[in-house]
């Protein structure tokens, strides 16, 4: 491996079948191959450090097109590995090592941690559940004009309190939904709500949960999300995505440890 090349790591698994990687390309359109160590296998592909070294990477991460292209390429490799039905541990985007030897060393050092992580996600998949609350309709415009300042204030207070109530009831519904889903799941992680612009929604996101669910219970999980959404207040909407590779549940470093 030449000095201006690095190794991008996609995921770690107990075994990666060579047939899975046949014809598979990753970031930079380079072929994906396997590096082994510590009884584990990592899916990797070469990257040019002129593009993926620390400084250029920093700049690229600010480029939305580059970011999307790279994120999708990273994800596609991980999904392809997960399609085998065997557990995989996804690495965070832009995990780059200087060479195969470093990847092998890392696998050897962290092999008990990876083994534990693989155990944790075996037979399970990640599901995302987002809940949105539409702003309650104002409903004031159609009424006749207030006859006095006092009347106006009274109406305004009622309007505001109705809005608060609607907001509170949506927050309660999201909390109940999360509690019910987390009970069914093996693990749950709440993510910060996505910004409305990014989520492509007018309604405010009031729940952005990820859940690690036994494959055997995924139907039950989706049904629960639908059922809860169905009996919530108008304007409350639920979106389920998945199955995802266990991005949110594949942790190797101790909780609270340095990242």
């Amino acid at each position: 491996m030449s000095e201006d090349q690095g190794v991008w790591v996609y995921a770690v698994a107990a075994v990666i079948r060579p047939a899975r990687l046949a014809g598979l390309t990753g970031v930079s359109s380079q072929p994906v191959r396997t590096v082994t160590g510590g009884g584990l296998a990592a899916a990797v592909s070469p990257v040019s450090l002129a593009e993926y070294g620390e400084q250029p990477l920093r700049q690229h991460l600010e480029d939305p097109d580059w970011l999307e292209r790279t994120a999708r390429a990273h994800h596609q490799v991980i999904e392809t590995l997960a399609a085998d039905g065997r557990p995989v541990i996804p690495m965070r985007l832009a995990t780059i090592y200087a060479g195969d030897g470093n990847v092998t060393a890392m696998l050897g050092e962290r092999c008990p941690d990876f083994a534990a992580a693989l155990d944790r996600v075996t037979g399970r998949a990640e599901w995302g559940v987002k809940a949105f609350a539409a702003a309650p309709p104002a409903g004031e415009e159609t009424r006749p004009a207030a006859s006095s300042g006092a009347e106006y204030l009274k109406r305004r207070r009622a309007q505001l309190s109705a809005r608060d109530e609607a907001r509170q009831s949506a927050a309660d519904a999201a909390h109940d939904l999360h509690t019910a889903l987390a009970e069914l799941a093996a693990a749950a992680v709440l993510r910060p709500p996505q910004q409305p612009d990014l989520a492509g929604q007018d309604a405010a996101m009031i729940l952005n949960g990820t859940y690690l669910v036994e494959d055997a219970r995924s139907a039950e999980f989706a049904a629960l999300a639908r059922e809860r959404a169905g009996r919530s207040a108008p304007g409350f909407r639920v979106e389920v995505t998945g199955p995802w590779p266990p991005y949110s549940f594949a942790t190797v470093d101790a909780p609270g440890g340095p990242e």
């Binding site: 994800h75 832009a94 060393a105 989520a199 995924s218 999300a225 995505t241 190797v252």
Partner: protein, 84 residues
């Protein structure tokens, strides 16, 4: 009211990830959901042998850029940030 955006197939679960792909190719996942995961999730192995990783500050930066580009793509949007 509820919308189940399940990828791959519209058939009800259980999930069969080992099944041969049949029918239309899987829908692309939403970029925002993907970035949520590949930038904030996934394993981070600390250690000197690692060259780099997407760090949290950059993630925020990237998302800001992304928001700006999303906004630019929408005609006549002037809505202020509601939650900063």
């Amino acid at each position: 009211m509820s919308e189940v955006a399940r990828r791959g197939t519209a058939a009800p679960v259980p999930v069969r990830r080992d099944a041969a792909p049949a029918g239309p190719p899987p829908a692309r996942v939403a970029l925002v959901d993907l970035l949520d995961r590949v930038l904030a999730g996934g394993v981070v192995v600390t250690g000197e042998v690692r060259l780099s990783i997407a760090d949290v500050d950059l993630v925020q930066l990237s998302l800001n850029v992304l928001i700006a580009s999303v906004r630019a793509g929408m005609p006549g949007t002037a809505e202020p940030d509601r939650d900063g």
